[in-house]
């Protein structure tokens, strides 16, 4: 056989399994989704979807539940990014000091990350519903004893943020640890001789040196908060209900959950798909903007 034909055969045969499954599972559904979002597609079998143009996009933003979900998702993401990064950075500082068993502590802080969102959601549901009141009773503090975190629409979002921070901070901590260990010791020692205090060293040496890690960790926490689904399903299932502009809404039905519910609970598949595409666009724009902004900052430092 001709060598070139043989080489071509090897090329396509080696590529085939990964490329074929990727095309069928991701690329083709992506374009199908673009089409479906402009139809009146439902899950009813045998019903052909009809073309409706941009209608699903036009009605989306006048929909109160969607707007509310959007705002709540942004709120959740912002607060999660702050909470996770603060905790992670704090832990990273602790476990890079000269303390005994620091590798052991690092592993301990990291372990919650191995637990899946669904399992983790049930653990925290139990803690919020049974353990927190029991601890309140033990301490004799009636506020804690009667605290129904998952029944109060103003508090439930914080329960979610707490559970998510518990899961994710240890992982983000590891990225900070890697960055902190790369800060040259000579630089810190030299500034010691110059009489710099802890805050000056932090502001002028450590933070600029780990700026690159900030870009990565902000990106990861932002994207993963925005896409959060598993923890919500297990911890709150979207509830409890709240009133928004005179309409009943689900206070923790964030976008990923909202999209799923619109499509499967209400069988409005096309609308769910259109919202998923907007979700994708917003996520891309926000995460690109964030990386761009942080890269600028990196250079300034």
């Amino acid at each position: 056989m001709n060598k070139r034909i043989k080489d071509n055969m090897v090329f396509w045969l080696f590529l085939a399994p990964a490329l074929f499954s990727f095309l069928v599972v991701v690329i083709i559904p992506f374009f199908m989704g673009l089409y479906y979002s402009m139809t009146d597609w439902t899950a009813v079998a045998g019903l052909e979807p009809n073309w409706v143009g941009l209608r699903n996009y036009e009605t989306m933003f006048s929909n109160l539940a969607f707007r509310y979900s959007f705002i709540r998702t942004f709120l959740f993401s912002m607060l999660s990014v702050i909470s996770i990064n603060l905790v992670a950075l704090f832990f990273a500082f602790l476990v890079t000091r000269e303390i005994r068993f620091r590798n052991f502590y690092r592993a301990g802080f990291f372990i919650p990350n191995l637990i899946g969102g669904l399992v983790l959601g049930y653990i925290w549901q139990f803690i919020f519903k049974e353990v927190v009141p029991a601890i309140g009773g033990l301490l004799g503090i009636s506020y804690i004893e009667n605290l129904l975190l998952l029944a109060d629409p103003n508090l439930t979002l914080f329960g979610l943020i707490l559970a998510f921070t518990w899961q994710y901070a240890g992982y983000i901590m590891m990225i900070y640890v890697a960055a902190l260990l790369n800060v040259p010791q000579e630089l810190l020692e030299a500034s010691d001789i110059d009489g710099a205090n802890f805050w000056q060293k932090l502001r002028n040496i450590t933070i600029p040196m780990i700026a690159q890690a900030f870009t990565i960790t902000s990106f990861l926490t932002l994207v993963n908060s925005f896409k959060q689904y598993d923890i919500i399903v297990a911890l709150t299932a979207g509830g409890p209900t709240a009133i928004y502009q005179g309409q009943v809404v689900n206070s923790t039905e964030l976008l990923a959950v909202h999209i799923y519910n619109i499509a499967f609970k209400y069988n409005r598949m096309a609308e769910g798909q259109a919202r998923a595409i907007v979700f994708f666009l917003v996520l891309s724009v926000v995460s690109i903007a964030q990386v761009y902004y942080n890269k600028q900052k990196e250079i300034e430092m």
């Binding site: 080696f14 049974e130 590891m174």
Partner: protein, 286 residues
């Protein structure tokens, strides 16, 4: 100065231990409550269990209860995770290798296509994916929904972008001379890949497998769409969602199931801690 430093160190040590204990508190809650009866767990959720042997009674109940079928879920999870891990790694390494070694436009285009998969969130493709699997069933007669092979096929597709990307980066750094020498010795291209290149890729295989193992073992949304909750094939997260979400909360059994779901992955972590942390951190930075 010396004594001041000593106090600061002790203070840091105490602060670290406190936060360490707070972080592990939820695990403590799970362990003590997995060994309680349904009454005991509600009346005293923060006490130590009266009888640790209740743990085995609980395990036996979830393991044998026909409504939970935990034993078959463990089997399904192990099967799906193992086969997906191996197939994602081998297929992606094969694809990455030919993409690196062929310096033509088509190779670049296909590589960029794989990379585009990294930024497409699952939510955008999930509804059409289920629809497409149905269409394939109706037109070609190949059943993918509710089947092991459909689930694993989906994991290969979703796992390929990151795996191809990581293998691609590593293979670029392997000197070509090694492969040329093997070619002169009369090896065919596939032989070169499987006998010469694959052994060199071992560290990336480990990294990719760790990332995928944690993802697939814990994954919920994708299997809930492909396999469905309460159907014949249930992974562990599906089984837990099935019996924890459906009726009045049987917290004792949920806690036991949670313990059993988390245990293998935590044991695995303790055994291969360094590699897992290194793998997960390097995976994120790429």
């Amino acid at each position: 100065m010396e004594t001041k430093n000593k106090y600061i160190k002790m203070l840091l040590q105490i602060i670290t231990i406190s936060f360490f204990l707070v972080t592990l508190f939820p695990f403590f809650v799970v362990i003590i409550n997995a060994a309680k009866s349904s009454l005991e767990i509600i009346t005293e959720p923060i006490a130590l269990p009266r009888e640790w042997s209740q743990l085995f009674a609980n395990i036996k109940e979830i393991w044998t209860s026909p409504s939970i079928k935990y034993a078959s879920s463990v089997y399904s999870s192990v099967l799906i995770t193992t086969i997906s891990l191996i197939t994602i790694s081998v297929f992606s390494a094969m694809a990455a290798w030919v993409l690196v070694r062929r310096k033509t436009g088509i190779a670049t285009v296909i590589f960029l296509l794989f990379i585009s998969g990294l930024i497409i969130p699952f939510q955008v493709v999930m509804f059409p994916l289920v629809a497409l699997f149905r269409i394939i069933n109706n037109t070609l007669g190949i059943r993918l929904l509710r089947e092991y092979h459909g689930m694993i096929f989906a994991y290969i597709g979703f796992g390929a972008p990151l795996a191809v990307f990581m293998f691609h980066g590593f293979i670029k750094s392997i000197p070509l001379e090694l492969e040329e020498a093997a070619l002169l010795d009369g090896c065919s291209k596939p032989q070169i890949f499987f006998l010469v290149v694959m052994p060199i890729l071992k560290p990336i295989f480990v990294t990719v497998s760790i990332l995928n193992a944690i993802w697939i073992w814990n994954d919920f949304l994708l299997p809930s769409l492909i396999l469905g909750i309460g159907q014949d094939i249930q992974t562990i997260p599906l089984a837990i969602a099935g019996f924890a979400g459906s009726f009045v909360k049987k917290w004792d059994l949920i806690m036991t199931a949670v313990l059993m779901a988390a245990a293998p992955i935590i044991v695995g972590f303790i055994l291969a801690q360094k590699q897992i942390i290194k793998g997960m951190v390097s995976g994120s930075i790429k």
